[in-house]
């Protein structure tokens, strides 16, 4: 028969109280922190899942932030390219007007407007955003297009585009090579935007001193070149718009993935508050019962019956 002594009873009671205190503290910690796992040993398996999802979230956040910056840069590039295309449209209108004009004064005015438009195009080609040249490729620090004293515009940027991260697949240029944007090739002939406008201006200025057929041939050639340059810019705009679309698509995909990971992480690490509160209540009640029963046990003693 097991003998029960006062000391043993108190020892067992203290041991139970200690355990209940631990449970009580743990439930209280979960309720107050909102986390089910407050240290690795609380639930290593859940922590493993939680950490895996945390890393995914961090990776997605970093990539999304990078995409946001890329989006901003590429939006500016696309916008600048669209503007360049608008300028070219106006140049073509001037070319058409100049071809039909017989008034030297009008041609002079048109030639002056061409100069302004060419300056505008050079300015667009040297556009910067966030401190980097949009059309310089990897040489993003200086001006990618330099104007010589004779007015010739030369591309001095990098021959290598700055490529976006792998999110957008291979070849998505964040910073395109300016030469590829403002030049096109007809067979083995290079058509340069700035040279074409300079030639067109020269044609306008020299129209009075040349035969009509020579002038018309030059206008026709300029118009043809402008057409090709316009189409080429449209292609560039199309490529940039596609890159932007890819970025937006990636942003949406990352956002969905992030939400999914956040849900999984929450399931693994976050406290189920109603459950934690019930556990807290249970631990409290258990502690009260333990102390009440101990008190009850010591109420009945032979001491109380000895005279």
């Amino acid at each position: 028969m097991i003998r029960t002594t006062d000391l043993a009873t108190i020892g067992v009671t203290l041991e139970h109280l200690r355990r209940q205190s631990v449970q009580f503290a743990r439930a209280q910690e979960q309720v107050s922190s909102g986390r089910r796992v407050n240290r690795p040993s609380d639930d290593p398996a859940a922590l493993s899942i939680g950490l895996r999802e945390t890393r995914r979230i961090e990776s997605l956040e970093a990539r999304t932030e990078g995409l946001n910056q890329l989006h901003s840069t590429l939006t500016h590039t696309e916008s600048a390219t669209r503007e360049a295309r608008s300028v070219l449209v106006r140049v073509r209108e001037i070319a058409l007007s100049g071809r039909q004009s017989t008034e030297p004064a009008e041609r002079q005015v048109l030639a002056q407007e061409l100069s302004t438009l060419r300056e505008r195009l050079i300015s667009i080609a040297n556009s910067r955003h966030g401190g980097i040249a949009l059309y310089g490729g990897t040489a993003s620090d200086g001006l990618p297009f330099e104007t010589a004293p004779d007015g010739t515009v030369t591309y001095v940027g990098s021959e290598e585009p700055m490529i976006a991260s792998s999110e957008l697949g291979d070849g998505a240029a964040v910073l395109p090579v300016g030469r590829d944007v403002f030049q096109t090739i007809d067979g083995t002939r290079v058509i340069d935007t700035f040279a074409v406008i300079a030639d067109l201006r020269a044609t306008l200025e020299a129209a009075g001193s040349q035969t009509a057929s020579v002038t018309d041939q030059k206008f026709a050639r300029s118009l043809g070149d402008l057409e090709q340059l316009g189409d080429h810019l449209l292609q560039s705009i199309g490529t940039q718009a596609l890159d932007l679309q890819q970025i937006e698509s990636a942003q949406t995909r990352f956002s969905d993935l992030k939400l999914e990971s956040e849900t999984l992480r929450s399931q693994a690490l976050s406290a189920d508050l109603p459950q934690s509160i019930v556990a807290l209540q249970q631990a409290q009640t258990q502690t009260q019962f333990t102390m009440a029963s101990l008190s009850k046990l010591f109420d009945t003693s032979l001491l109380n019956f000895l005279a």
């Binding site: 097991i2 003998r3 029960t4 002594t5 006062d6 000391l7 043993a8 020892g11 067992v12 041991e15 986390r35 796992v37 407050n38 240290r39 690795p40 040993s41 609380d42 639930d43 290593p44 398996a45 922590l47 493993s48 950490l51 895996r52 945390t54 890393r55 961090e58 990776s59 956040e61 970093a62 990539r63 932030e65 990078g66 910056q69 890329l70 840069t73 966030g130 401190g131 980097i132 310089g136 490729g137 990897t138 040489a139 993003s140 620090d141 990098s158 021959e159 290598e160 700055m162 490529i163 991260s165 792998s166 964040v174 910073l175 090739i185 083995t188 003693s301 032979l302 001491l303 000895l306």
Partner: protein
Amino acid sequence: MISFNSSLTALRAAQIGLRVAANNQANAATPGYHRQRLQLGERASTAINGVAVGTGVNSLRVDRSASTFTQYSLNQSISQQGAQEASLETLRSVEGVFDPISGGLTDRVSQFFHQLDQWTVNPGDLTQRRAVLQAARQMTGAFNQAADRLNTIQSSVHQEIQGTLDKVKGLIHQIAELNGEISSSRGGGQEPLDLLDRRDALLERLAEHTDTHFPFRADVDDVVTLASGAVSFSTQPIALVMSTNSKGEREITWQGGSTPLEFASGRLAGLLQGGTNRIDAARAQLDSITRSLAGAVDRMQAAGVGLSGPFKQLTGVRAVTAVDAPLNKSTGKWPLSAGQVTVAVTEAASGERRLFSIDVDPARDTLEDIANKLSGISQVSATVDPRTRQLSLATAPGFAVDFAGGLPTVITRTPGSTGTATGHVSGRPTGTINGEWTLTVTQGGRVGVDADVRADVRDASGTLLGTLQLGSSYLPGKPIVIAQGVELQFDAGTLVTGETSTWDVVPHPDEVGLLPALGIRSFFQGDSAGNLAVRDDLSDDPRELAAGTTARPGDNSIAKRLAALRDSGLPKLQGQSAIVALDGLTVEVGAETAAASWSVDQATALSTSLRQQRDSVSGVDLNEELANMLTYQRMFQAASKFLKAADENLQELMTLVR
């Protein structure tokens, strides 16, 4: 008169019984106290008129209620519990070092990669470069802090071992002394109950600190054995000594012995084995992760150039242990493999960049050999400082070097070629093998003019990579993609059928792992978690941070590879990324802590149960003692009454005599 004697023995027994009960009550709360019992025996009867009549009661002895088996089991359990508690305490401390919930190391590593990600978008931006360096400094600081905390925990464990050993020595002294006293008492014919209680209590305390074996038998000498029976003592205490072995580990030996004692249980076992082993393992894992991450970052950084371009002078920040020892022995922490290291030499005036490779066999080559090989490259001189055991490189005036590999700026034509068209290669090799590629003109003519001008390009193994059409459909000067990221262009001129040109294609400039091992153009200095730091010269000048393989500010080729390390598996980490390996270490320590906590709970429950069993035999039940008190009180009263009755009977007889 027999009646008087009988009553007298009863009165004496009752008095002793009351004293025993009183003593039990007084010690009801005394730790280690075993309740005592008065053993009574019937006295021999005597024959009165042929009738055997009892003569009273004998108070034989007072003995202890003790269960030796339970006490032995309890000591074993306490010893196991002590080991597991000590182990758990250490694990909880180690767990705190890697706790990701409160931030710390993993957060810092993640933040570093976050900044690298941002850097890829604007690699030339100095503010972003500073942000990368700041994040790197915070990350290395977190590694240093983690290593420091592990060291602090280790120091605490060592202090704890010393403190526990001091307690053990004190207990051994006290037990040996008690053994002597118990032996003397027994020699005098007395069972020293109080001394036995005190010794049991001391043995229980000793068991908490070390594995302890004691026979608990009266017929066996009082010999206590410790450390799996390796040492024992009885009345003469033994001296235990702590020392540090050649590996820096703490050992305990007994004075006179040379073999380290192995403790199977008790706090000493938990501290010596569970505690220090876990700390050593955690430190080794942390160092391995540190080196893998730093090595990968350094390797990529070395393969790039800063915004200032190639370098005129370079000095390694990692020293070898001996300049004349093979590299695989002198750079032990940075494993190397045999292969080639490619050095690119650029002439500033012409911009011409040439590639030179040196063969490195780490099993044979010393640092001095490497310096000699590098010095064999035109315009490069390498020296080894015998004092610092570090390698330095310098170039001749007008030249600079880099380790970006890739492609040379010009291709080498067959001597005697009469073609006039000049070829240039460009691009970024993406292949897996370094080697020489060869272009062979299969149909000569004027580049960009004649209808059919063709050339084949083959790699080092002779595999045809592509046939280039360089005739009238080709615009001279326009790059043509060959394969694996390599492009070729020809200026206007002629190509002659059969002529060949060659050039090196080097996607992997450091096949050996030499540059991170020697700290040349590395990102970090130091080789373990405790001493990892961002290179001072990088901290001073963020422009020197290599975002690409060229000095162009928009070149993000290296930055992208660095950022991709966040998710890239590293060979030395079993294919895990550094951050996943850190998480793995966290989970591993957490799982061990949880398991240890469970073990402590189990051991505590077992000890509690055994203590309950022990107390059910040895403990004092006040109700029981009060009942005994009543029994002896009644016995005393009855014996007194009997004496009174016997006395009255005798008085009656006396009356008759008178």
